[in-house]
Amino acid sequence: MKISRLALPLALAALAAPATSLLAQKEVVVWHAYRAEEKAALEKIATAYNAANAAKGVKVTTLAVPYDAFADKITAAVPRGKGPDIFIYAQDRLGGWIEAGSTVEPIDFFLDKATTDRYIPTTMEAMTYRGTVYGLPLNYKVITLIYNKKLVPTPPKTSKELVAMAKKLTDAKSGRFGLAYSYSDYYYHAALQNAFGGRAFDPGPKPVLNAPENIKALSLLMRWFTVDGILPAEPSTALITSLFNGGKAAMVFSGPWFLGEIAQGVDYGLALLPTIDEAGGKPMRPWMTVEGVYVAAPSKNKDAAYDFAKYLTDTPQAKIMAVEGRQTPANKSVYSDPAVGSDAILSAFRKQVEVAVPMPNLPEMTMVWSPATTAMNTIVKKSAPPKAAMDQAQKSVERDVAALRKK
């Protein structure tokens, strides 16, 4: 009796399994981490595609997976042949999946020049790992200057203007700040670092967290924080949102995701990140993340999958993504469409992405975050000077990279 209790469910499961596999004729399954209007836009595109391709017997179905579980789910499912045909994810995990194998299909072979040319070139760069292209860029995300129009009538163009303006708007005691952003988060800080020509990796890929340019950028940040005093302490993303919504932060460096968190009634504008006078007038160059459309390596319908990926990233679909999904497409011709071009938000991000740098898609990048965050926190807590802290981080990353590459 005890045994039958366990055997029954197992038997039921065995019965249920073949039934589902029979249904799949030529189904292209897409996994993504979109929500709300961006999800609706993607589903609308899939429906349109299905209507147009019904004769070919191809059917696209989509599945939304919460972002926090997405990467683990891909890592568990795809190499075991149980995953989707297509998945959409930022490029930061791309290198890791390629190195692990059986996850992402290279698509160089499919690509023609017309397709390659329709994307913003840097977004294509983000899809390329060790000389091979692995995905089509769908949307990019990049941080820019978001300001409260009531407090800042005209946004600053240079770092000097920024500091002067922010100083006037700062009253630290009452919790008002001219500028607020997650500056101790290495991702946000990278915009400043890149303005100085700094970087996390030299080609190789060789970590160079303590490059002299990186140190210069950190010194400037520390001047903003301590001497100019225009930044709040312990700047978590949740705090930044609260400050901006409460009218206590006049300017914020953040990305498109931030717009959904802004409370109703706050009149905000977007502008290019300022140029940095201390770096010879070079612009702040934020890291861009690019959501790529990848064909899963074990997919049985790779042709159909690539066809949909191409369709999804084409101009008319990019327009739906932009206008209805409120995304910033990697497709560049969509911005000449009046509906997109006249949109203040979308065109602001489009301008910002011109100077953005693709975030490294190397697997080694995940080893950078933790030491870099530690270093950033040490620096802003004034426990160590920038150089010492970054040397420490560099040592730690070098050690981890070496441990991985031994042989």
Binding site: T374, N377, K381
Partner: protein, 655 residues
């Protein structure tokens, strides 16, 4: 445990038992040994086949690289096919223009003949080339040998498909792919020989047993000796076969290298390609990273010294395998021969009801918990990383290296320039120390608060009890992902309520996440808040098991409330509370979420606990083997704790 001394009432036959044990033991040795030998012989044959194939392929890629493109390549490929009868077909691809430059594949004739653009179905071929290009570049950049520069793929029919890059001026411009005939079947050891290793000792034992009679000790000694002899004998004959196969292989390969050099040289003349610089056939005999093995000189002579070293290491590993096998077989013999098996069967029969009750829960645990767990332990002995997830375990086996690396690092602190102590927060022992403090403080807090509240809530006639109870379990009911972040927010330096309250009473605001101690307190407050309701509910349940008349009797005897608590309440709570405490120690020790969400290890990783470190090794540093070893160490620590605690409290003992 389950082995019991024999029941004297029934006298078992020692001869039968040792005979059966010997039979099983020799079956194990011969069976596994046979398999081992078969696999090794096949492996040796494959090794030779692969090397000969690589030699030929490297010769071809050198020629194709010299030919460049066009007709020269096609002539080289065609002539090559003629020179090597084992080659079924050859394809050469140049990346520029996705061109199939030459092919001897029968399918590529007529309108499909090379040169032409690659077709859609040939994407795999192109991807293979790109993979090789990336591999060559990666190895060069990293100065290592991490990715295969010669790809081998064995098809289901045993035939080999190989691909190697074609380089021009140090850049990979294409690939050559060769498909070969299925190799001849590898020699298999004769089953009869193997069986004789079972039959002979068993028959011998039977005869000797007749002579010895029912004497336990002599019988046991004889059986053990016979078994050891079997293992030794089988091992020795296996090695003889293997060594012969390997020696033959080396001279075969050396000849193949020499022949290959000569063929290639004559081909250069036929096609009219430059003869200088001279080809280097000796370097063709290489591993998959194109590093020469150096086992022969290119003129057909084997380097006996180097081969000898290889043979010695092969022999050592075979010896280890047979020693292990022999030990296992002896264990089996002892188990059966000394009556363990019989006792086990008896036990299972006697207590079948109890086992039936436990079985369903146990099966679930075995399948869904212990199996993944075993997997983790196995991985911990390897060097598994994201770069070698598909490598067979035997290739990445590193023994206890990960454990040594974790446990032997005692650099917990060092003297800074100014003379003060600087702790190394990444050190295992620092993290262990934090974890232990974390566990003790949390469990103490949870149990004390939970128990006190439960005792109060158990007071008879207290008003509003249901309302208190519900409000007090809310921290448990609410998803902790958000409450943990609210707690983190409450400790913000400027905008957190904790500092506001401190300032309300004239204190100075604290920068909570700046020092390890205060940062630790934030996580402790959060987790304490999360965990006391659970302990309260457990205690409430446990309190119900105390018979009211015990208190009654105590009161009659004039015991004070404290005496009642100490002599009735606490002892009665023990059966339910002790397991809960042990388990919450285990859970708190491995409490990932709270530390991860609240302090995130700040400052500088000082408030990490062991499990968050293990997570970082696995998912940030991609060192799966090391992370598994870390997890296993955590497991070991908890196991020691659990055993110790169990012995102290006799929690498994019961009434």
């Amino acid at each position: 445990m389950s082995v019991r001394p024999d029941d004297p009432a029934k006298s078992p036959s020692h001869r039968l038992r040792f005979g059966a044990g010997l039979l099983l033991g020799t079956l194990l040795v011969a069976g596994v040994g046979h398999r081992l030998l078969t696999d090794s012989l096949a492996g040796t044959a494959r090794f030779g086949e692969d090397r000969r194939a690589i030699v030929a392929l490297r010769a071809l890629t050198d020629l194709v690289a010299r030919a460049g493109s066009g007709d020269a390549v096609r002539t080289v490929v065609a002539e090559f096919g003629k020179a090597y009868p084992a080659v079924v077909s050859t394809r050469a691809v140049l990346f520029d223009g996705l061109s199939l430059e030459a092919s001897t594949d029968p399918a590529d004739s007529g309108e499909n003949a090379a040169p032409r653009r690659l077709k859609r179905e040939e994407k795999d071929l192109y991807d293979r080339g790109q993979r090789l290009r990336a591999a060559v570049e990666t190895n060069r950049q990293e100065g290592g040998a991490r990715k295969d520069e010669v790809e081998r793929e064995r098809r289901p029919d045993g035939s080999l498909s190989l691909a190697a890059p074609v380089e021009k001026d140090g850049e990979v411009v294409g690939l050559v792919e060769v498909r070969r005939l299925p190799p001849p079947e590898a020699p298999r050891p004769a089953l009869v020989t193997t069986l004789s290793y079972v039959v002979a000792p068993v028959v011998l034992f039977a005869l000797l047993a007749l002579v010895i009679g029912e004497k336990k000790v002599p019988l046991g000694i004889v059986a053990a000796l016979l078994l050891a002899g079997t293992a030794w004998g089988y091992g020795a004959q296996s090695w003889a076969k293997l060594a012969r196969a390997r020696t033959t292989l080396e001279s075969d390969v050396a000849t193949a290298v020499k022949d290959g050099g000569e063929k290639a040289h004559s081909l250069l003349g036929t096609v009219g390609l430059p003869v200088e610089p001279a080809l280097a056939p000796a370097s063709w005999d290489s591993d998959s990273f194109r590093r020469p093995l150096g086992l022969s000189d290119g003129a057909g002579n084997v380097d006996a010294g180097k081969v000898g070293v290889e043979l010695a290491s092969a022999r050592a590993s075979l010896r280890r395998a047979f020693l292990l096998l022999g030990a296992l077989a002896l264990g089996l013999l002892a188990f059966v021969g000394l009556g363990g098996a019989a006792a086990l069967a008896r036990t299972l029969r006697t207590h079948r009801v109890a086992y039936a009750y436990v079985l369903p829960a146990m099966v679930g645990m075995l399948v869904l918990v212990f199996f993944p767990f075993l997997y983790g332990i196995v991985i911990s002995f390897t060097d598994s990383t994201i770069y070698n997830t598909n490598a067979p375990l035997s290739e990445i086996f590193v023994g206890v290296k990960n454990y040594v690396a974790i446990l032997s690092d005692f650099k917990i602190a060092q003297h800074a320039a100014d003379g003060g102590l600087v702790f190394n927060y990444q050190n295992f022992y620092w993290t262990l120390w934090i974890t232990v403090i974390w566990t003790i403080t949390n469990v103490t807090f949870g149990v004390t608060v939970g128990l006190i509240l439960a005792l109060i809530l158990n007071t008879k006639g207290l008003a509003l009890k249901p309302a208190y109870r519900v409000l007090l379990i809310l921290p448990w009911a609410m998803p902790n992902y958000i409450t943990a972040l609210i707690w983190r927010g409450m400790f913000h330096q400027q905008f957190g309520v904790v500092n506001q309250v401190i300032q309300m009473f004239g204190g100075a605001p604290v920068s909570w996440f700046e020092t390890p101690f205060t940062s630790f307190l934030t996580a402790l407050a959060t987790n304490g808040w999360l965990s006391f309701p659970f302990m309260m509910v457990i205690s409430l349940g446990a309190l119900q098991s105390i018979p009211a008349d015990l208190y009654e009797a105590a009161r009659v005897d004039g015991a004070s409330r404290w005496q009642q608590f100490a002599s009735i309440t606490l002892p009665s709570l023990k059966p339910a509370l002790v397991p809960a405490i042990i388990l919450s120690v285990v859970w708190t020790f491995n409490m990932f979420n709270i530390v991860y969400l609240v302090t995130a290890g700040e400052p500088a990783g000082s408030t990490e606990i062991l499990v968050t470190q293990a997570y970082k090794f696995a998912f940030e540093k991609y060192r799966y083997g090391y992370a598994a070893a870390y997890s296993t160490v955590i497991f070991g620590i908890l196991l020691v704790y659990g055993t110790f605690q169990n012995r102290m409290t006799k929690a498994t003992e019961g009434v």
